[in-house]
C-alpha cells in the first residue's frame, strides 16, 4: 500500500495546487463556479489525505517494516496503544498529520462559512491550500512517509521511550490542531485585507475557530507540561525549552486576539492591531512547527532533523513580509470607526491586557531565539535560562492575572465611581484578607511574590464569583427560578461572557499553583540503600525494597518507598527506570539490553495540599563486570555454534537465546538480590495539583465559550432586540 500512499500524496498536491488556482481565478475573474470548485478542492484534499493517513496508521498497527518510517519508529514489542501514536513521533508522520489536520479543519471552516464572507472566503481558501501545498511538497520531496525498504527487517528500532506516555497520544495532535486552526483566521485575515472587507464579518465568521485553536493549543501545552512532570524525571513541568516556548508564542498572541476582536466587533476599533495580531499568530504557529521539526534550536522535545530548515524559513519569510506589506498597503481601510470613550472601560482593560500579552510573547521570543541572535551578533551561541525568563515573565504575569480579575468588573465604554464601589470592594477585601491570612503562616512572608500572587488570585476568584452570583440573582429576579436553575440559565444565555470568566478563574488557579509550588518547593537528591530513610519537608521517605522486571520490551529497575509523617503512614510510592534494548551490537549480547535508551516512571502522590514526587536513577556500574563476563561467554558460545555443524545451528541459536534471556533476567534480578545504593530525587511541591485543576477549569470555560447557543434561542434573542430597536426606529421616523 506504500505505492498508493505515495500516489495519494501526489494527487493531494495536485488538488491543492488546483484549488489555489481555481479559488483565485474564481474570486477575481471566473465567478462562483470556480470559487465553489476551489472550496470543494479542500473537501477532496481532506478525503485523499484521510486515506493516506489511514494507510500510514495501518502500517504502524500491523508493524509493516517494509515502510521505512515504521521500521525506524516502531517495533513488534511496542504496545498497540503506542504503535498508533508512533506515526507522529517521526518527522514524516508529523508533517502528514499536520497537513491532514489542516485539510480537515479547513474543510469545516469553509463548510460553515460557505454562505457568508463570499468575497473573503475564496482568497482564504487559496491561502489555506497554499499552506497545504507547502506541507505536501515537504512530504513528497523532503520527508516521504511512504518510503519503503529494499531489505525488510524482522524487527523495528522501536518508539523513543520518552514518548511512551499517555499524554503523547494527544499532545502532538492537539498542538497541531491548534496550529492549523490558527491558520483559518490567518487565512481569512489575508482574504479580508486583499478584498478590503475589513469590517466585523470575517471576524464573526472565524472567531469560533480562533477560540478552538486557542483551546486545542492550550490543551496541547498542558499535556506537554504533564508529560514533562511525570516522564522526564527532573521534577518540573516547564523549563522554558525552545519547543515549549514555540507553542506558547502563538497561544499568547492568540489570547490577545480573541479578546481584542470583541472591540472590533462592537466598536469597529483596533483593526490594524487585530489584523497584525492574527497575522503574527498564524506566522508564529508555523514558526512553532518549524522549531519542533527543524531541530534548529537544542531542545529535549525536538525530535526532528534539520533538513527542513530552508523551506520553512522561506515560508516564514514570505509570511512575515507579506503580512507587513498587506497591513501597510491597506492601512487606509484599517482606520478605527470610533475612539476609546474612556481609559476606565473594558475596552481599555482589554487593550492593556493585549499589551501585556504581546510583551510576554516578545520576552518569550527573545529568550527562545537568543542563542541564534547571540551567534549572529557575536559568533558565540549563548542561551538564557529559567532565571532570565522568570525575571521578566513573573511581573508581567502578575499584572495579567490582576487584569483578568479587573476586566469582568468593568463595563464597556466607561466606568463610573459608583460602579467601582459596587464591583471592586468585595474582591479587594478578599485579596486583602487572603494576603493577611497568608502572612500569618510561618515562613510565608519569606516569599512575598507568592503572597502577592495568592492575593491577586483571591481577587480574581472573588471577582468571578461575584459576577456569577449577581448574574444568578438578576435571573432569579426576572424569571423566579431556583438558584441552580437561574445560574445555569444565565450562563447558558451568555456562554461567551461566563465561559470567559470561568477561563479567567481557571487561569488564576493555574498560576497560583505555579507560584506556590515553585516558591515553596523542597527538593533533595540523595543516595539510599534499602531500609535507609531521608527527610524532605517533614516527610520521612524510606527505601523499602528494590524491584526488577525483565521483559522483551524493557528491563525495569525500581524501588518501593514508604512515605510517613510523624510516624503516620502517608503513602507507598513506586518508581522505576526502564532500560530499552539497544540495536548497537557492539555493546555485546547481554550488554545491549542495558545500553539502550531509558525512561523514568515517577512515583507520585498527588493531593490538593501537596505533591510528593520521586524518581529513581539506578546506578548500573556494579553490574558492568557481570555484563562483560556474560558478553564474553555468549560471544564464545555463538562463535562455537557458527563454526559447528550447520544442521544443528538453528536449534543451537534458539537455545542460546533462551539462555541469554535467562542470563539477562538474572543480571537484572541482582538489583533485588544484592542491592546497592540507588540515587533518588525527592520533591515536595505544595499546590502543584492546582496547576492541572486550573488547566481543567480553564479548558472547561473555553469549551463553554466555544459551545454555540441553539440557533432558535439565538434568533429569539436577536428578534427581541430587533423589535425594540424597530420601535425606536418607528418613533424617530414618524
Amino acid at each position: 500500500m506504500a505505492t498508493v500512499g505515495r500516489a495519494l500524496l501526489i494527487v493531494a498536491f495536485a488538488v491543492a495546487l488546483y484549488g489555489v488556482g481555481a479559488s483565485l481565478y474564481g474570486a477575481f475573474a471566473g465567478g462562483r463556479a470556480w470559487v465553489d470548485s476551489g472550496r470543494r478542492a479542500v473537501y477532496a484534499l481532506a478525503g485523499v489525505l484521510t486515506i493516506a493517513f489511514a494507510i500510514m496508521e495501518i502500517a504502524f498497527l500491523r508493524s509493516d517494516f517494509s515502510f521505512d518510517v515504521v521500521a525506524t519508529h516502531s517495533s513488534t514489542t511496542t504496545p498497540t496503544f503506542y504503535k498508533a501514536t508512533a506515526a507522529w513521533s517521526s518527522q514524516e508522520g508529523s508533517l502528514l498529520l499536520w497537513v491532514w489536520l489542516l485539510s480537515v479543519w479547513s474543510s469545516l471552516a469553509l463548510l460553515v462559512t460557505r454562505r457568508r464572507v463570499r468575497e473573503v472566503a475564496p482568497v482564504a481558501t487559496a491561502v489555506l491550500l497554499t499552506f497545504a501545498s507547502f506541507f505536501l511538497m515537504l512530504t513528497i520531496f523532503f520527508a516521504q512517509p511512504f518510503t519503503t525498504l529494499a531489505a525488510v527487517p524482522q524487527e523495528g528500532t522501536g518508539l523513543n521511550p520518552l514518548l511512551r506516555h499517555p499524554a503523547m497520544m494527544f499532545h502532538p495532535p492537539m498542538l497541531y490542531s491548534g496550529y492549523t486552526l490558527f491558520s483559518i483566521p490567518f487565512a481569512f485575515a489575508i482574504g479580508a485585507l486583499i478584498t478590503r472587507r475589513l469590517n466585523a464579518e470575517w471576524i464573526v465568521s472565524t472567531r469560533r475557530f480562533a477560540l478552538a485553536a486557542w483551546l486545542c493549543l492550550g490543551v496541547g501545552i498542558v499535556l506537554g507540561a504533564r508529560w514533562s512532570y511525570t516522564e522526564l524525571g527532573w521534577g518540573g513541568y516547564w523549563a522554558w525549552d525552545p519547543v515549549e516556548n514555540a507553542s506558547l508564542l502563538p497561544w499568547l498572541t492568540g489570547t490577545a486576539f480573541i479578546h481584542s476582536i470583541m472591540i472590533q466587533e462592537r466598536r469597529g476599533m483596533l483593526k490594524v492591531w487585530n489584523a497584525s495580531l492574527v497575522l503574527a499568530t498564524g506566522t508564529l504557529a508555523i514558526l512553532g512547527t518549524f522549531l519542533v521539526r527543524s531541530g534548529i534550536l537544542d531542545s529535549i522535545h525536538a525530535f526532528g532533523a534539520s533538513t527542513l530548515g530552508v523551506p520553512f524559513l522561506i515560508l516564514i519569510g514570505a509570511m512575515v513580509l507579506g503580512s507587513v506589506g498587506l497591513v501597510v498597503w491597506r492601512r487606509a481601510d484599517l482606520t478605527s470607526e470610533h475612539r476609546l470613550d474612556s481609559l476606565l472601560s473594558r475596552e481599555a482593560v482589554f487593550l492593556f491586557q493585549n499589551v501585556i500579552l504581546v510583551g510576554l510573547a516578545f520576552v518569550v521570543w527573545w529568550g527562545t531565539f537568543f542563542p541564534l541572535i547571540s551567534e549572529a551578533v557575536t559568533g558565540t551561541r549563548a542561551s538564557v535560562g529559567p532565571p532570565w525568563f522568570d525575571k521578566y515573565i513573573v511581573p508581567l504575569a502578575f499584572v495579567l492575572v490582576a487584569l483578568s480579575g479587573i476586566g469582568p468588573l468593568v463595563p464597556w465604554r466607561r466606568l463610573t465611581w459608583a460602579s467601582v464601589r459596587r464591583g471592586f470592594v468585595l474582591p479587594a477585601l478578599a485579596a486583602l484578607v487572603t494576603v493577611l491570612a497568608l502572612l500569618a503562616v510561618p515562613g510565608a512572608w519569606m516569599e512575598p511574590k507568592a503572597a502577592a500572587f495568592t492575593g491577586v488570585v483571591a481577587f480574581v476568584l472573588a471577582s468571578v464569583g461575584q459576577e456569577l452570583w449577581r448574574g444568578m440573582r438578576a435571573r432569579q429576579a426576572s424569571a423566579r427560578e431556583s438558584a441552580p436553575v437561574a445560574l445555569a440559565g444565565v450562563v447558558r444565555r451568555n456562554r461567551r461572557r461566563y465561559g470567559g470568566y470561568v477561563v479567567h478563574a481557571g487561569f488564576a488557579v493555574l498560576l497560583l499553583g505555579v507560584a506556590v509550588s515553585s516558591s515553596f518547593q523542597h527538593a533533595r537528591d540523595i543516595s539510599l540503600r534499602p531500609g535507609q530513610s531521608a527527610r524532605v519537608d517533614g516527610f520521612d521517605i524510606t527505601y523499602v525494597r528494590a524491584t526488577a522486571r525483565a521483559a522483551s520490551e524493557k528491563i525495569s529497575l525500581g524501588a518501593v518507598l514508604d512515605i510517613s509523617k510523624h510516624g503516620r503512614h502517608v503513602a507507598t510510592l513506586r518508581t522505576t527506570r526502564g532500560f530499552y534494548p539497544s540495536q548497537d551490537i557492539s555493546q555485546g549480547i547481554v550488554g545491549r539490553f542495558f545500553g539502550g535508551e531509558s525512561e523514568s516512571e515517577v512515583g507520585l502522590r498527588a493531593g490538593l495540599g501537596r505533591d510528593i514526587w520521586t524518581v529513581i536513577n539506578p546506578n548500573l556500574a556494579p553490574l558492568t563486570p557481570i555484563i562483560e563476563q556474560g558478553n564474553r561467554t555468549f560471544r564464545r558460545a555463538m562463535v562455537g555454534i557458527m563454526t559447528g555443524p550447520a544442521a544443528k545451528r538453528q536449534q543451537a541459536v534458539a537455545q542460546l537465546y533462551a539462555l541469554r534471556d535467562a542470563a539477562v533476567t538474572a543480571v537484572a534480578r541482582r538489583f533485588v538480590t544484592s542491592p546497592w545504593p540507588a540515587d533518588f530525587r525527592f520533591i515536595v511541591s505544595p499546590l502543584a495539583t492546582w496547576i492541572w485543576l486550573g488547566a481543567i477549569i480553564t479548558f472547561l470555560g473555553g469549551l463553554l465559550a466555544l459551545w454555540p447557543a441553539p440557533a432558535a434561542a439565538r434568533r429569539r434573542v436577536s428578534a427581541g432586540y430587533a423589535a425594540r430597536v424597530a420601535r425606536e426606529l418607528a418613533r424617530t421616523t414618524q
Binding site: R118, P411, R413, R497, A719, V725
Partner: protein, 109 residues
C-alpha cells in the same frame, strides 16, 4: 494492479467532487457582490450591536451600571443600531427585490 485501481478510483472521485460546480456552467462574477458583502458586514455589525445592548442590560441588572448610566448608554447604543438599520435598508434597496426589511414592522401602540 489493485493499487492502481484504488488510485484511479480516488482520482475519479476527486474529479467528480471538484468538477461538479464547473459542469453546472460558469455563472460569472456577481455584479452585486460588493453590495452583498456590504450587506453582510452591516448584518454582522447589527448583530454585534444587539449583543452590545444585551450586555449593557445585563451589566445594569448585575449592578455594574447604574440605572442612569444604563439609560444613557442604552440610548447611545439604540441610536447606533438605528443608524445601522437605516444603512442596511439603503443597501438592501440597492441590491434589489430580494431585500426584505431588516427590522420587523414596528409594533403599534
Amino acid at each position: 494492479m489493485i493499487e492502481l485501481l484504488v488510485v484511479f478510483a480516488v482520482v475519479l472521485a476527486v474529479v467528480a467532487v471538484v468538477g461538479a460546480p464547473l459542469r453546472r456552467g460558469a455563472q460569472g462574477l456577481d455584479p452585486d457582490a460588493a453590495a452583498r458583502a456590504e450587506l453582510a458586514d452591516l448584518e454582522a455589525a447589527k448583530e454585534a450591536k444587539y449583543q452590545e445592548i444585551r450586555d449593557a442590560e445585563l451589566d445594569m441588572r448585575t449592578g455594574k451600571l447604574s440605572d442612569e448610566d444604563h439609560r444613557v448608554l442604552d440610548g447611545e447604543l439604540r441610536a447606533e443600531a438605528i443608524a445601522l438599520l437605516k444603512r442596511l435598508d439603503a443597501v438592501r434597496a440597492r441590491v434589489g427585490a430580494d431585500a426584505a426589511p431588516v427590522a420587523p414592522p414596528p409594533a403599534v401602540g
